[in-house]
């Protein structure tokens, strides 16, 4: 006979095992962020992470390229096109960055050895709907099975503030063997620290809330009203922690790996 007590312990075991794994996965992300941040800090000391303003570039200094497919939204409401990301690529074309210590030449890097972290504002500019005509043009294809294909270019241009992380040779930065040359429009060290705070908050919040709902479930009399409310909250916690865990995972992806998406709406 499987009594309520046996099944209760079994269910709590499942809850803690899976909750523990979600928290452990977040902790792995936290450690990865810590490693990345330490690498950036060390690189800054070695002069391999520099910051400054792009003063010379042949058109575009660097770019993130994303292929997107737009599909007409078929729910009620105004006409909208929902874009999803396809393949993406990065390219550092190079140029000169003026830093506090003088100009640094950033060598062009092949696509496979480039990585670009645009800032949200620049990405937003590239993703928005430029005009009503553009919407109408896209709408025709977006309403068909294959959808509307578009190529997004998010450029880093002359005049932009950037951080560049690469192999230093004299006054030149270039990609390492097997590691890309990074051009970022956000301070990568600060970005890592900010995201680490988000993950830390999640880990602490998840652990405390798991302990709280478990404690409520174990309030005597077991399986009484308070305990049953605790059981309901345990079930809700189990169902909620999974999407929250993946939301945190997505939030701490580097700006190069962030999904762009986009939604256009006819004015």
């Amino acid at each position: 006979m499987l009594t309520k007590e046996i099944m209760g312990l079994f269910a709590l075991g499942i809850l803690w095992l899976n909750g523990g794994l979600v928290i452990a996965a977040a902790y792995k992300q936290l450690r990865a962020l810590g490693r990345l941040r330490r690498a950036f800090v060390a690189a800054r000391e070695r002069g391999e992470l520099i910051s400054g303003r792009v003063v010379e570039a042949d058109g575009v200094f660097a770019r993130r390229h994303v292929s997107q497919t737009g599909r007409a939204v078929t729910t009620k409401g105004p006409s909208r096109i929902l874009f999803t990301d396809g393949p993406q690529a990065f390219e550092v074309r190079g140029g000169i960055v003026e830093t506090a210590d003088g100009p640094i030449t950033v060598a062009p890097a092949p696509i496979a050895a480039s990585e670009v972290w645009p800032d949200p504002a620049r990405s937003g500019e590239a993703l928005g709907c430029p005009s009503e005509d553009a919407f109408d043009e896209a709408w025709t294809d977006a309403s068909k099975f294959k959808g509307h294909a578009r190529e997004i270019e998010i450029p880093v241009r002359e005049g932009d503030s950037v951080w560049v992380h690469g192999r230093r040779e004299g006054d030149t930065l270039s990609p390492w063997e097997g590691r890309p040359l990074l051009v970022s429009m956000v301070d990568p060290t600060a970005w890592c620290a900010g995201r680490a705070r988000v993950v830390s908050l999640f880990i602490v919040g998840a652990a405390l809330s798991l302990a709280a709902v478990t404690a409520l479930t174990l309030v005597p009399p077991h399986f009484g009203l308070v305990s049953t409310i605790g059981g309901g909250l345990c079930l809700a916690w189990f169902l909620a922690i999974q999407p929250l865990g993946t939301a945190v995972r997505d939030a701490v992806k580097t700006p190069a790996r962030q999904t762009l998406g986009a939604e256009w709406q006819r004015e």
Binding site: M1, L2, K4, M7, G8, F10, A11, I14, L17, N18, L21, V22, A24, A25, K28, S67, R71, A72, V73, T74, T75, L82, T84, D85, G86, P87, F145, F223, T228, G231, G232, L235, I241, Q242, P243, G245, T246, A247, R249
Partner: protein, 326 residues
């Protein structure tokens, strides 16, 4: 080019016969699985004497099979009546505690594409990366489940299949509504003896994605999947062990997959991807070792072999059309 596929698809074999109700009489096995599952859940909920280890484990196993039936039914509706197919989706949704129609987007349209179109498979094995592989097996649904529901919700906003959202909503209402009613009337019994089996099946079918594709080469034509070829296993699992041929010819009825697997996969599939037993595979790869098995070039077996397959997009378009029509 698809000459080998045609006979199996159109052939009136013993296993391919239909009757007034079903396209294929073999599907009575699937209806039997679902009916038995409901009976076991009802027995545990209403009869205290049935709340024992045997019934509980049996319910968990049947719940997994219920999810297998969802998979098969959403590829090819089992009833001749479209209305009955829709009703059956509702019944299946309660058993798995998720709307069965989610499979159209998550499985038929996305998983069968792998990442060919540059968009990730929501259930790709690389969603988990613990060093101890058993933890990956346990944790996999915690990640892939939300990926799937986010993706389905996004897809549902743009689908041109106008009645999808209505059907999806009805399935949600029935699955969550009936489960909610059971919880309200007897919370703990429903939680332990209905919800736990439901979740076991739903999470188990997600884990199958890891089991059947981890260490495989999804870019290849004949080595993208792991097969479990035991006869008894496949009888119970409605031939869902033959995963390579299912991906390559998604329109085939499950009852002929063993024949077509034997005929077509043969030398093109690396022998290591034809496992005799899932239990042994799980023991060997998840329970008796700590590290994740190293990837190897499993696609070597198909190089130099003629493919005789239509292009992937053509095959998928056929399978999608079939799923959406039923």
């Amino acid at each position: 080019m698809a000459s080998q596929a045609q006979p199996a698809r159109g052939r009136a074999t013993r296993r391919g016969r239909g009757d007034r109700l079903l396209h294929n009489v073999a599907d009575y096995r699937q209806i039997g699985i679902v009916a038995t599952y409901w009976a076991v859940l009802a027995a545990m909920y209403f009869v205290p004497a049935c709340r024992n280890v045997f019934f509980f484990l049996f319910a968990c196993w049947l719940s997994f099979l219920n999810a297998v039936v969802i998979h098969n039914h959403l590829h090819k509706g089992i009833f001749k009546s479209k209305r009955l197919n829709r009703l059956f989706r509702g019944v299946l949704s309660f058993g798995a505690l998720y709307p069965a129609s989610a499979n159209i987007a998550s499985h038929n349209l996305v998983h069968h594409h792998f990442d060919d179109d540059g968009q990730p498979d929501w259930a790709a094995p690389d969603n988990v990366d613990f060093r101890w592989h058993l933890l990956n097996l346990i944790h996999f649904p915690n990640v892939v489940g939300p990926n799937t529901f986010n993706g389905v919700s996004r897809w549902a906003r743009t689908t041109r299949q106008r009645d999808f959202r209505r059907q999806y909503g009805l399935e949600q209402a029935f699955a969550f509504g009936l489960t909610g009613v059971l919880l309200v009337f007897d919370f703990w019994t429903a939680l332990f003896f209905v919800v736990l089996p439901q979740l076991w099946g739903a999470r188990g079918i997600l884990r199958i994605n890891l089991i059947q594709h981890d260490g495989c080469d999804v870019r290849s034509e004949w080595n993208h999947s792991r097969n479990f070829v035991g006869r008894a296993f496949n009888w119970v699992m409605c031939n869902n062990g033959y995963h390579t041929i299912h991906h390559n010819r998604a329109g085939l009825h499950w009852s002929v997959l063993d024949e077509v697997h034997a005929r077509e996969c043969g030398p093109r599939t690396d022998p290591s991807l034809n496992e005799p037993s899932m239990v042994l595979y799980l023991l060997k790869n998840f329970f008796l070792r700590f590290s994740r098995p190293e990837d190897r070039d499993v696609a070597e077996a198909e190089r130099g072999q003629s493919s005789e397959l239509e292009a992937r997009e053509v095959r998928r378009a056929e399978a999608e059309a079939e799923a959406l029509a039923s």
